[in-house]
């Protein structure tokens, strides 16, 4: 940002003659500068370190595709990619929702702020619904709600555990009360899953706030979070304005939530897969209710 804003006299002093518009950026594919410690590493190093800064272990924001690749065994099935948001309220703020959606699709190559896939972790079946923050701040509109609802139907049908990876600023304002009702919709469906005694794991990543936290993200049988993730109901700015005081260091971080009793544990991304595998194994291995003897068995 600061580089771009060099004024004409600075450019003159530094002998810069190239036009600003033809200025060459470092290719994205090679180097990565950590926003946390400012250290530079290669993108290859970053990827090999589960998209954490190799120097300070800061967890970069990644998307659904990275989680699917990182967590599932070879080969998984993507679900419900055919669901698309549209501007049914004709909502226009500084920009029309319609064009927001179009540019989000174009910019990210994603369909919406959530993707779902069914696969296995160490051969144990799991459905993962993961949010993409790059798509309008990971906001929850009708499509996110519907993808969760359908995932739950899938899990009910196949008796498969569910994991939702949240990374969202909250409900999508451009769908107004429809997004609000997704809180009810996802909770009603999760209640069905709970009634069927199918495990639900919630992983909260940076950031998880608003209506997402106040519905499915907080409702896990197991509430997990990535280190340092911002997790809360109201955003820090709103709280600061309300109480007119600075917020304490570490407020609303994953560590803060763990300390206050709202998380089961924090998991480093490099440990996520093995932790999930263990958890699934422990749940699968629990004492099963004794099967009712079938007619055939009683006959013989």
């Amino acid at each position: 940002m600061e580089e771009e804003s060099k004024s004409w006299y600075q450019r003159l002093r530094h002998g810069i003659q190239t036009a600003t518009k033809s200025k060459k950026e470092t290719p994205d594919g090679l180097w990565h500068k950590c926003e946390h410690c400012n250290e530079t590493s290669t993108v290859k190093e970053l990827k090999e370190n589960f998209f954490k800064c190799p120097k300070c272990q800061f967890h970069e924001r990644i998307g659904s595709a990275e989680y699917f690749e990182m967590l599932f065994d070879q080969g998984y099935l993507r679900l419900y990619d055919d669901l698309l948001s549209y501007d049914f309220l004709e909502f226009t703020d500084l920009k029309a929702y319609k064009s927001r959606l179009e540019s989000a699709v174009q910019k990210t190559g994603l369909d919406d702020a959530m993707a779902v896939a069914s696969g296995t972790i160490d051969e144990q079946p799991l459905v993962i619904a993961a949010m993409d923050f790059r798509f309008i701040g990971g906001s929850m509109g009708s499509v996110v709600g519907e993808k969760i609802a359908r995932s739950i139907d899938f899990c009910l049908k196949h008796k498969t555990p569910l994991m939702i990876i949240s990374r969202s600023g909250g409900a999508r304002m451009m769908e107004s009360a429809f997004s609000l009702m997704q809180m009810a919709k996802t909770s009603v469906k999760l209640a069905q899953l709970a009634e069927a005694k199918i495990p639900y794991i919630s992983l909260m990543t940076d950031p998880t706030t608003g209506g997402v936290t106040a519905s499915f993200a907080m409702l896990g049988d197991f509430n997990l979070a990535e280190p340092g993730a911002l997790i809360g109901f109201a955003g820090p700015r709103v709280i600061r304005e309300t109480i007119k005081k600075d917020l304490p260091e570490g407020f609303q971080t994953a560590e803060f939530l763990l300390d206050h009793g709202f998380l089961d544990f924090i998991v480093d991304r490099s440990e996520l897969r093995s932790q999930l595998s263990t958890l699934l194994m422990l749940l699968e291995n629990r004492a099963k209710p004794r099967k009712q003897a079938t007619a055939k068995e009683t006959e013989s």
Partner: protein, 322 residues
């Protein structure tokens, strides 16, 4: 009387009426014709003003300082109210009240946001903004109702769940989420009314039910128009525009199928004739409760799941291609 800005034409009419009535009181001149004239003019002006309210004007009406709150309805519509306090963990939230009461000859569990009626009480009630303890108290009362097979009635009127430091520490999000999950499967009838403001998670935290209704001049949205303006327009000056864009009125909500119906308010809003409002609401509640009691708990829960599952609008890619 407090007049909102769009009610200015009424204010001068009421002033004139007041003056004429003073003349009448002196008894020298017969002004009955003028009074009749003014009164019909007031009714006419009210009809004109209130049949054409913008989203923002309805938001203002829903926040009218004289608007009846939960405690008013409890006093007018219910008997033998026994208030039950506390969430059994931390404290007693004053922004959400609840308790047992008698309605139409039967016991009900009543839960509602409560705003204060004057400056002191507004602070005491935290302006109707509940902390996690409010939602946890509400849940405790709902589970109690379930245990004793008592229907639940909730009255919603909040500018939002309180965005405070302690609220976050004690899990505001968890409290609201937990209520949604539990209300989804609660075995007794849940009947909800938005009686004022229906702001976001703070409203829906006691607002998931078999039937949800809104009074005519209330609003329900994912965010207040002011906050929406500040986030999306990056300025506080677009609240009117935001109120329109959010389509947050009872009419919109009913049209979208996100609520089950609208309860008419007296001309000029509930505060113009609170007693009449209570009578209308009583009649409405009686009929709705009766209908809900006829269903089995399984039927009600299935219906709840179906109702909320159907909420949302999206397109399907393959369908577009065709």
């Amino acid at each position: 009387m407090v007049f909102l800005e769009f009610e200015q034409p009424l204010e001068s009419l009421y002033e004139q009426l007041e003056q004429i009535k003073q003349i009448e009181a002196q008894g020298d001149v017969d002004v009955s014709a003028t009074i009749r004239d003014l009164e019909s003019k007031i009714v006419q002006t009210k009809k004109e003003i209130y049949s054409n309210l913008s989203g923002w004007q309805k938001v203002q009406l829903s926040r009218h300082p004289e608007r009846p709150y939960t405690l008013f309805y409890i006093q007018k519509m219910f008997t033998n109210f026994v208030e039950l306090h506390g969430d059994r963990f931390v404290n007693d939230d004053k922004a959400i009240i609840g308790g047992l009461a008698q309605f139409d000859g039967r016991t009900v569990m009543l839960i509602g946001h409560q705003k204060g009626i004057n400056t002191k009480m507004r602070q005491y009630r935290n302006f109707g903004m509940a902390n996690p303890e409010g939602y946890r108290k509400a849940l405790r009362l709902m589970k109690l109702a379930e245990k004793f097979d008592i229907p639940v009635i909730t009255l919603i009127d909040t500018p939002g769940a309180y965005p405070g430091l302690e609220a976050e520490e004690r899990g505001q999000a968890e409290a609201i989420a937990r209520n949604l999950l539990e209300m989804a499967q609660l075995k007794v009838p849940i009947l909800c009314y938005v009686i004022g403001e229906g702001a976001s998670g703070g409203a829906i935290g006691i607002g998931l039910g078999d039937k949800v209704f809104m009074l005519e001049n209330t609003w329900y949205s994912v965010i207040s128009p002011e906050s929406c303006s500040s986030i999306l327009w990056r300025s506080w000056d677009f609240k009117e525009t935001a109120a329109e864009a959010l389509k947050l009125t009872a009419d919109h909500m009913a049209e979208f199928g996100l609520i089950d119906g609208i309860v008419k308010e007296p001309l000029g809003g509930a505060h113009n004739d609170p007693d009449a409002m209570a009578v209308t609401l009583t009649k409405h509640m009686k009929a709705e409760l009766k209908a809900l009691k006829k269903m089995s708990s399984e039927e009600r829960i299935n219906h709840r799941v179906e109702k909320y599952s159907a909420m949302g609008r999206f397109q399907v890619k393959s369908a577009i291609a065709e």
